[in-house]
């Protein structure tokens, strides 16, 4: 069978104009006719030779850093903007959801907006009518249906918007980061709905930064970096490659420049970075992953030589301490001389998905006296949903902070009569 989407050599060029106002005006255009152009245009390829095929029924995740070209690709797929060269052959109706609530009007009521939005998204009025009750039910806004949208809370607006979109029935569904809507409960509902869409045999293209969601919804993923495809294979594989993309600030935080440090300064942390099982530099992990934290310590005096304690502490986004990896806990000191690389090894990361920050310590006596170097918030660290228990179940955010390995058993107890 022929693939439902054939994407062939797509390129999209933008001209970045320097030395000029960022918008076009007639005056500039006319003036440009008469003078030698003082502004310089630079060609920029948002997408550079992108090719891949999508088979019917496949769910594909498209991942990449900000500005990698993911959204441009989706815009071309949904005909919003044309490619500069290349072509896409599509063998099905594409519905795109680049934003929830496109075309919602604050002055119209909830009911009116359902019809308007449905129609803009390409639904026939009959379709909307037949699904109207389901849409309202899913959104949970039936009480306010005849209230102008501007009086809705923003969460309710988003829920209504997602609900309309959730009942689209195209052959190919293109989704861009719409999961970031509503409260945790509704997000779960959305994810469930999208899983259902994928399982019903529809083709789904899904762009997201939420690796957990990609892992849950997609079987295959395409990694785009700087407009080019870097990887295209099964989702787990591509996600681990995604973490290896160097994100300059995140991967190897330069610490030598930082001034907000405490300690006597005889030796200093130079940088911190993370590596994965293969020894590759990464900037994020999944719960349950093997993690290495590396730090470089430099002694100011080349003759300096001493055994010191090192510690790294992890804090959550609220700056609450999660745990510390102090070498003192293991009765270990590290030998510092010249340039030293320190490595902490975590066999199985127990942190729940979220964003974490870390502090670094270097000291001589336990208790934190004789501080050589100490800095707070030296790195940021992302943990995504992962299969911590190797059960095929993704452990999601929820209310848990940690995952712990465990087992459950049971036995029958005879009743004494």
């Amino acid at each position: 069978m022929k693939p439902i989407l054939e994407i062939k050599n797509i390129r999209k060029k933008f001209d970045i104009v320097h030395n000029r106002q960022p918008y076009l005006s007639l005056r500039d255009s006319m003036a440009a006719l008469f003078k030698q152009s003082g502004s310089t245009a630079e060609e920029f390829y948002a997408l550079d030779d992108i090719s891949f095929n999508v088979n019917e029924g496949e769910s594909i995740g498209i991942i990449g850093k900000n500005g990698a070209g993911k959204s441009t690709l989706l815009k071309i797929l949904s005909k919003i903007t044309p490619p500069t060269s290349g072509s896409i052959i599509s063998r099905g109706r594409v519905a795109s959801l680049l934003e929830v609530g496109t075309g919602f009007h604050p002055e119209l009521t909830g009911r009116e907006n359902i019809f308007l939005n449905g129609s803009i998204l390409g639904m026939k009025q009959k379709e909307v009518k037949s699904k109207f009750d389901e849409i309202v039910d899913f959104s949970g806004t039936e009480k306010f249906l005849d209230t102008p949208l501007k009086h809705f809370s923003s969460g309710m607006q988003l829920r209504l918007a997602f609900s309309v979109a959730a009942f689209l029935e195209p052959e190919i569904l293109v989704i861009d980061e719409v999961l970031a809507v509503g409260d945790a409960e509704f997000q779960k509902k959305c994810l469930g709905k999208m899983e259902e869409v994928g399982k019903s045999g529809k083709t789904v293209l899904f762009v997201s930064h939420n690796m957990g969601a990609v892992l849950r919804l997609c079987s295959r993923a395409v990694l785009i970096n700087e407009g080019k495809i870097v990887a295209d294979s099964d989702v787990q594989n591509v996600i681990s490659q995604y973490y290896t993309l160097n994100e300059s600030v995140m991967d190897q935080v330069l610490l030598s420049e930082r001034k907000d440090r405490k300690g006597n300064g005889k030796c200093k942390f130079q940088k911190v970075w993370f590596t994965n099982k293969e020894g590759k530099v990464v900037n994020g992990f999944q719960s349950g992953d093997y993690v290495e934290i590396n730090a470089l310590v430099k002694a100011e005096d080349p003759n300096f030589e001493r055994d010191l304690y090192v510690s790294v502490s992890f804090c959550n986004a609220l700056n609450e301490r999660m745990f510390s990896l102090g070498s003192g806990l293991l009765n270990k000191k590290v030998h510092i001389n010249g340039l030293t690389e320190v490595k902490w090894i975590i066999d199985k990361l127990q942190l729940a998905p979220g964003e974490y920050m870390g502090d670094l310590f270097l000291f001589e006596t336990i208790g934190g006296y004789d501080m050589y170097d100490m800095m707070e918030q030296v790195f940021r660290f992302v943990v995504d949903e992962g299969d911590f228990h190797h059960s095929g179940q993704l452990q999601s955010k929820g209310r848990d902070m940690f995952f712990v390995e465990f087992d459950v058993t049971s036995r029958q107890i005879p009743l004494n009569k």
Binding site: F14, T81, S85, H105, G122
Partner: protein, 264 residues
């Protein structure tokens, strides 16, 4: 259903696609009408008040004598209600791409639907205003010719075609050069005086003024109930220019529309 997405090569009217999306005409028009009169006490009555008030002001300052064999009230009101189709249609269509930029950037549909809907909204206002115009014809005992419905429809057709033509041209230009946001209101105001709305312009300029399609559209409309003979060569000039504006507007719009999302 198989189709290809690739760089734009040739320009077509895309009528088939417009037909596929026909419901969207209704929804955009319906939305704009709804929103226009939402949270107003008088609602649709505003469509009537505006020309009536203008007529009252014009009558105070310019009234007294009859124009083209019509009492001044009837003369100016008949001109105003048709002129309003052009002026509101033109400014709404001209700004439509910019005001709907958030939709254009996020979803695909034939872009032409938006300026066409803007014209449809102004036609709706005309219908409301026309209902008020009829009592004026009766009150002033105006003799209405049997051909009036024909004159009305042809007059409206010229108006709609030229409003859409100029409107879509301005919409496409406006999204690229925001200067047109300032040009449009000025243009509409200036044209009011070059069109026989407030008073008939001097005869010696008529051949040039007829290039403005609204010139003959209004004269034609009025000829259904006044005794001024219709000048066919002026009508021919106006119709030609209406069609020309329509073709140029449509062509330029279709040629540039694929890049609207990048510019908006």
């Amino acid at each position: 259903m198989e189709y290809e997405i690739k760089p734009q090569e040739k320009i077509s009217l895309g009528l088939k696609e417009l037909w596929q999306y026909r419901e969207l005409f209704f929804f955009f028009t319906w939305r704009d009408i709804k929103v226009k009169y939402k949270q107003t006490v008088f609602g649709f009555a505003w469509a009537v008040f505006q020309p009536l008030l203008m007529m009252a002001i014009f009558t105070v300052f310019f009234g007294g004598s009859s124009q083209e064999g019509l009492p001044y009230e009837v003369f100016s009101l008949s001109g105003l209600i048709l002129w309003n189709v052009f002026s509101t249609g033109l400014s709404n269509a001209g700004n439509s791409m910019v005001t709907n930029a958030n939709i254009i950037k996020k979803i695909y549909f034939p872009r032409l639907i938006i300026p066409i809907s803007a014209v449809l909204v102004s036609l709706f206002d005309f219908v409301m205003a026309f209902i008020i115009f009829i009592p004026f014809l009766i009150y002033y005992h105006i003799h209405v010719s049997l051909l009036f419905p024909v004159m009305l429809i042809v007059g409206l057709l010229i108006t709609a075609v030229s409003t859409f033509g100029v409107g879509s041209l301005l919409a496409a230009l406006n999204i690229k050069y925001r200067d047109f946001r300032y040009v449009i209101p000025f243009m509409v105001q200036a044209m009011l005086f070059l069109t026989p709305v407030i008073k008939t312009p001097p005869d010696r300029w008529k051949y040039i003024l007829a290039v403005n399609p609204m010139y003959s559209a209004i004269e034609l409309f009025r000829s259904g109930f006044n005794d001024k003979p219709l000048e066919y060569n002026l009508l021919a000039i106006s119709i030609t220019s209406a069609i020309l504006f329509f073709v140029i507007g449509l062509y330029y719009f279709r040629r540039t529309e694929s890049y609207f999302a990048d510019l908006a």
